[in-house]
């Protein structure tokens, strides 16, 4: 069981914990966006950066969600270097999705006063990859993927036309942190899943048994009705 120091307090954690997991278990706040406990760590949003020093090496920033708890490590989760890095990342994110409540709350917390970057158009999707990963790792389908590179990257169905493997489970909608995939869109059979797709009844690809249909979506509709209202308001 490695022992390490986080923000001055010595803690001991079970083998195999990431620094983020250790922090969460000890109620030390660390913001994350691409992390989800049900998914493989991805280390992409870099909001969870913390400062790690293992003397004599100088301290450096590491992504806590993927960084293992090492014996004797000294971690700072809220140093100036950490805050500065998070501040810029939040600012960069807000440039694309400037009305997102979650990002605005983070901006408030980290003192982002002004967004000094402008984007040609607003894009709620922050490319965290959660939807794609959830579709593959939880649902086991892989109906959508991230396409392109760098600048032009986005979430898409194969060849940007209707996905034939989507089972309309709504997992991508639920997991999206910025509500970029709209439930309304799925129930109306378009959005990231391609336009005009019609969801025939299909067999669940995991259990090969239950068949899912648009009815499922109506249930989800009812379940999280608030999301829908929010969506409608925003448009």
């Amino acid at each position: 069981m490695p022992k390490l120091t986080i923000n001055g307090s010595e803690i001991q954690v079970p083998e195999g914990r990431s620094v983020l997991e250790a922090c969460r278990e000890h109620d030390i706040p660390v913001p994350t966006l691409c992390y989800h406990p049900a998914l493989e760590p991805y280390g992409a949003c870099r909001l969870c950066m913390v400062e790690a020093s293992s003397p004599p090496r100088p301290p450096r920033l590491v992504a806590s969600c993927v960084h293992p708890c090492e014996e004797g490590a000294v971690i700072e989760t809220d140093s100036e270097a950490v805050r500065k890095s998070r501040r810029t990342t939040i600012e960069l994110l807000l440039a694309g999705a400037h009305n997102d409540p979650m990002l605005l709350a983070l901006a408030e917390e980290y003192g982002v006063k002004e967004i000094r970057f402008t984007l040609p158009e607003e894009d709620l999707c922050v490319l965290c990859g959660l939807c794609v990963r959830a579709c593959r790792e939880i649902v086991g389908v892989g109906a959508i993927s991230l396409i392109n590179r760098g600048m032009a990257r986005k979430v898409s169905t194969p060849f940007q036309i209707a996905s034939s493997t989507c089972i309309a489970c709504g997992t991508c909608v639920l997991i999206c942190p910025t509500d970029a995939i709209k439930l309304k869109d799925i129930t109306h059979f378009h959005s990231v899943h391609g336009s005009d797709s019609e969801f025939e009844r299909v067999y669940c690809q995991i259990c090969d048994d239950v068949d899912l249909s648009p009815v499922v979506i109506q249930d989800v509709d009812v379940l999280i009705g608030t999301t829908i209202e929010k969506e409608v308001d925003r448009d």
């Binding site: 992409a44 890095s85 760098g150």
Partner: protein
């Protein structure tokens, strides 16, 4: 584009042949389809998916990741014009204008007759003859529209050496002739290594002080020992020939002129760590190198240098050639593994490291082409003779790629360390047309700018580090007083924004904003606060990015801000 008449077998039979290997054959299958059909249609992608058991969404993700794969038809011939710093400063922008007039075509479009499709591309590794273009598979140096329409097919890089060690066979042997290679002490190092045994090889590599030549200058012995002692099996050797760092062409020159020497290094490494299989990953923009190396592999199999019981020793080793698809990030070692495994070339999170969890999650040694070339030399001439070259902190001969506004651009092998000034003015013949020097970009796009005041730094690891610089991949881009530095900054910005894999935010978002600001700087439209924006974004990319691409994406720009702050100040100049 290959005519379909060239193909002995149908695409369907090709797919059947590779189907049992599964997803790892995805990129080869896509490249083959691209070559045969000019693009990859949903139907072909569906057939590939069915054969290799890959979901269609993943195939789309992979197609879209690589610059040389298209999901819709382009034209008979694809013209790729390099707009990276060297070519851009040597007339690439004029060339694009010329093509607009002569062929009536702008980047991203086809000519009115539908015969040519024009694209801007990042460094093609042909920098010594800038401006350059790749016309389908033909490399065109000193490109103009006449040469682009009728590629001359005679691309030849000049090689200069104080004492030829790494390059000593270059130009003297027929590259694909094993007999020639053997007649020039070829495989002498490998035969010595077989006698020494695995442990002794590793200890000699250690004593030689060999540093990786792929850019990070990491000690080769540490990787080899790590993989040798790792418990997983099988183990792999990977030769990184994805050479895409702007201004770098050394690996191409070595592979074109002395390819057996690289194979020799891979064999020695394989024997040393107990690997049975090697991959060489050659960038897609080097089709000629790929042809040459495939011939070398075939000759080695025919003559007992690959396969089973190599040269009578208890050593089996196979080598497979893989082509890249046009993505700088795939030169990053873990992205390269992902690419071979048939995925999008996203860098992996480290740890775990390749020595224990590399290709297919197995212990892997990955080294650069030039590193493997050095391995053969060390085994042939011994540690002492090897250490007589170079400096204590960077032993052995080092290769430099000199390009830009210099009298004699080309590949330089340096065995006795010299300063940057000596490289440019004494070996390289000085700045072209006796112009004044404005700046040098040292180490490629991921490197730093050096001002004329700092030319006396010796080109060794220890001296450059002390000066806050780095040798990187050995790229030295010379910019004269006539060069438009602002344009160079913008080129660098485009490079990173275009090549960022997009996985992590600081780099994905930061490289785009950096590029936008540098465009403003290039147009003399910098806004108040742009300098600070560049710094904030730059520092965050450097500290918080996931991989080496993002961590170095601001390196050159931040160095430029220190040297010439006024250029970046909104409203000034």
């Amino acid at each position: 584009m290959k005519a379909s008449g060239d193909n002995p077998i149908s695409y369907e039979s090709f797919l059947q042949q590779i189907a049992n290997r599964g997803r790892t054959m995805l990129l080869p299958a896509l490249l083959e389809a691209q070559a045969r059909y000019g693009h990859i249609s949903p139907e072909v992608a569906g057939a590939i998916g069915a054969a290799l058991c890959v979901p269609l969404a993943d195939i789309t993700g992979v197609i879209e990741f690589y610059g040389m794969l298209y999901d819709r038809p382009t034209a008979e011939t694809i013209i790729r014009v390099c707009t990276s710093p060297t070519c851009s400063s040597q007339g690439a922008q004029t060339l694009l204008k010329e093509l607009d007039q002569s062929l009536v075509v702008t980047p991203g479009h086809a000519t009115p007759d539908g015969k040519h499709y024009l694209e801007k591309t990042e460094c093609l590794g042909l920098c010594d003859q800038a401006p350059t273009a790749l016309v389908d598979l033909a490399a065109v140096g000193r490109a103009n529209s006449a040469r682009i329409l009728n590629p001359p097919g005679d691309f030849h890089t000049a090689i200069y050496a104080d004492t030829p060690v790494i390059t000593r066979r270059c130009g003297k042997v027929e590259p694909t002739s094993l007999a020639n290679f053997l007649a020039h002490e070829g495989f002498a190092g490998f035969h010595n290594a077989l006698k020494l045994g695995a442990e002794e090889i590793c200890s000699r590599v250690k004593d030689s002080g060999l540093l990786g030549r792929g850019g990070a200058a990491f000690s080769t012995d540490i990787k080899w020992e790590g993989a040798a002692s790792a418990s997983g099996k099988p183990k792999y050797i990977v030769c990184n020939a994805d050479e895409s760092e702007p201004g770098t062409f050394k690996d191409r020159v070595l592979l074109e002129n002395d390819p057996f020497a690289i194979l020799e290094g891979m064999l020695i490494a394989g024997f040393a760590i107990g690997a049975e299989k090697g991959f060489i990953y050659i960038r897609g923009e080097y089709p000629r190198v790929q042809q040459i190396f495939q011939q070398v592999i075939d000759a080695a199999y025919e003559n007992g240098y690959l396969g089973e019981d190599i040269q009578g020793a208890e050593f089996n080793f196979d080598v497979e050639l893989r082509s890249g698809g046009g993505a700088y990030i795939c030169g990053e070692e873990t992205a390269l593994f992902e690419s071979i495994e048939g995925k999008r070339g996203y860098p992996r999170l480290k740890p775990p490291f390749p020595t224990t969890h590399g290709l297919y999650q197995k212990p892997t040694v990955i080294n650069n082409v030039e590193t493997f070339a050095n391995v053969g030399v060390i085994m042939r001439i011994g540690v002492e003779a090897y250490r007589a070259y170079g400096s204590p902190g960077s032993s052995g001969p080092w290769l430099f790629c000199l390009s830009g506004d210099v009298e004699n651009p080309g590949l330089y092998e340096i065995t006795q360390p010299i300063t940057l000034r000596e490289l440019i003015y004494e070996r390289g013949g000085g700045v072209r047309d006796n112009a004044d020097l404005q700046a040098v970009l040292l180490g490629g796009a991921a490197g730093k700018f050096v001002s004329p005041a700092n030319l006396d730094v010796r080109l060794t690891q220890e001296d450059t580090r002390a000066a806050g610089l780095g040798l990187g991949s050995g790229a030295v881009v010379v910019l004269s007083e006539h060069a438009d530095l602002r344009q160079t900054f913008a080129d660098l910005g485009h490079f990173f924004a275009h090549e960022s894999c997009g996985k992590c935010y600081p780099c994905q978002l930061g490289s785009q904003r950096q590029s936008e600001i540098l465009d403003r700087v290039a147009n003399h439209e910098a806004l108040p606060g742009d300098l600070e924006r560049l710094q904030d974004v730059g520092w965050t990319m450097t500290d918080a990015s996931l991989c080496g691409l993002g961590q170095t994406a601001a390196s050159a720009v931040l160095s430029a801000i220190e040297l010439w702050p006024d250029i970046f100040q909104g409203g000034a100049l």
